[in-house]
Symmetry: C2
Subunit: 326 residues, 2 copies
């Protein structure tokens, strides 16, 4: 278990009985609010840890919004309002936090979420904190609903963001401009999967979901732990894009490592009852992103990669927020 997951376990032990429907430990919290449910999440981004030093402020704002939107996507929730706090070195000037806010307002606005408040503070380096809330489109998705026999899916192309991070740090020759742009965008400006999450919730297609923020390996392990199942990912089914394969080949990295350990993907990993596979595939045009079947849930625990019969434990693969800085 990653240090961050251990923290959540210890934290839950501190909490008195709660009125929340779902407290710490999922992508977002769920509480009753009058007639409906409110889904709420927050993410803290620290310069040099969660984003590269000197990041363009508007793009940083877009990213801060996107990572929170992604948490709501994983709950099947439609975003409504957000709060934005910015700590920054005052010598960056008053337009710097405004540019961060502009980016966050634009990105969140694409998904229907409005800025309603926030806070500013001086700080030795930039930190951005967003708190976002919204409303589940249907029965909320959590990490806890997968059953043995369910089919495992992932959206988009995990690993592209990790390739983009490496590209942002050091140029790699031999990629087309389109490939380069695609990988850099995956890292700098991830697209939250709101339409997919909402549709999975509204149509009751998925039994569980998580957003892949820290790596397919560790996030699959989180889903498996919360659901009490074993997740088996099939190597042959993992959707490596051509851009990722080209980058990996030029950079002499195994694309599989980028897919399993990379993090920052903000794709959705979710389970679907075997009987619903047909319905899921009929709906795919509404998701706004391709989805790929990559494995299954079984009795047991843990997360493994199956490769022609051999199995490899992947639960420890991924980024931990308390590990070394970027």
């Amino acid at each position: 278990m990653k240090p961050e997951d251990r923290f959540v376990e210890k934290l839950r032990a501190l909490l008195p009985g709660s009125d929340a429907v779902l407290g710490p430990g999922d992508d977002a919290a769920l509480v009753h609010r009058d007639a409906g449910l409110l889904a709420a999440t927050t993410d803290l981004l620290v310069e040099g840890v969660d984003f590269l030093p000197g990041e363009d402020p508007e793009r940083l704002g877009r990213r801060a919004a996107a990572v929170n939107l992604s948490d709501l996507a994983a709950m099947g929730a439609c975003p409504e309002f957000f709060l934005l706090s910015i700590g920054f070195p005052p010598d960056k000037g008053e337009d710097y936090p405004l540019s961060i806010a502009r980016g966050a307002i634009a990105r969140a606005g694409e998904f229907g979420a409005q800025l309603v408040g926030g806070d500013l503070s001086a700080a030795p380096q930039t930190v951005v904190s967003v708190a976002l809330w919204g409303r589940p489109a249907g029965p909320p998705l959590t990490r806890a609903g997968a059953s043995p026999g369910d089919v495992l899916y992932v959206s988009g192309h995990p690993g592209e963001a990790a390739a983009g991070l490496r590209l942002a740090r050091q140029r790699v020759a031999g990629l087309t401009p389109e490939q380069e742009r695609r990988l850099l965008d995956a890292f700098h400006d991830p697209l939250p999967r709101i339409a997919l999450g909402a549709e999975l919730s509204r149509q009751r297609l998925a039994t569980s979901a998580i957003d892949v923020s820290d790596g397919l390996g560790v996030d699959a392990a989180r889903l498996s732990r919360a659901s009490g199942v074993r997740l088996v990912l099939e190597r042959s089914l993992l959707p490596a894009s051509e851009a990722l394969r080209c980058f990996a080949s030029r950079a002499e990295i195994d694309p599989l490592e980028l897919m399993l350990s990379g993090g920052d993907d903000y794709e959705l990993l979710f389970t679907v009852p075997a009987a619903q596979q047909g319905r899921l595939e009929e709906r795919a045009a509404d998701f706004g992103v391709p989805v790929a079947r990559i494995g299954r849930a079984e009795e047991g625990s843990g997360a493994v990669l199956s490769d022609g019969g051999a199995e490899r434990d992947i639960a420890g693969l991924g980024h931990d927020h308390l590990e070394a800085a970027r």
Copy 2:
């Protein structure tokens, strides 16, 4: 206008038409949520800027909760749930963020608010971000409702927290242990005025309110600007406690400067129609804190201190979050 207030003005200009009842620029945001209103706020605390380096983590957590609770108090709202994000140097160990969380859970729990989620990140120094929401007890209090003729009140004893900050940095001889404790607590462990705010809202006693977080001077100016009135504070009515007077005398500081410029008080500054003064004073036992009449609202703009006929502009007096670090 302080840089933070200028930022809010520029930010509001960026926002498209909003569905919020009240967006950026008050103590908390207000949005419609099913049958009722939701009041939401967030505050970011940065080590060395918003709290002293090396602060005890549990006390820091209490304070992070309290400053957010205070924002809801100023809206007349009862807190319900909160999210907590912590950035910290990993070498502080895993118990460090847990102690911060323990403090926040305890302080918020006293006022009925429960922790439901959050985020962790490595960071070069500690940053704590809380997002808190709740429900107005009656018609919400905002900064915008004061009218000429209203009477101006403040709760507690502004200036004690500023004295406590100075004491925490450097001992001052000649105070009783009780006085020392009182001033240090005012800074380290402020008590949010939830009962007062809720009662002012529920009983429709106040026309406007703000929490005094940055200094009586600048926060009076904010209230005056939002309401479109002039606020006149009477020097002779300002409630300097004995502990504050004793500290100021020993430290050779004018207690008035601590009261007007100090900040970190987390008291409520609010206006009451002259015809409601009697009702307010009858209710005082329910507020959980003494309240003092300190002045009045007039036609005009700005905030001044009246002292035997002479008037002094106090709008610029107070802490700005973008100014020099502690």
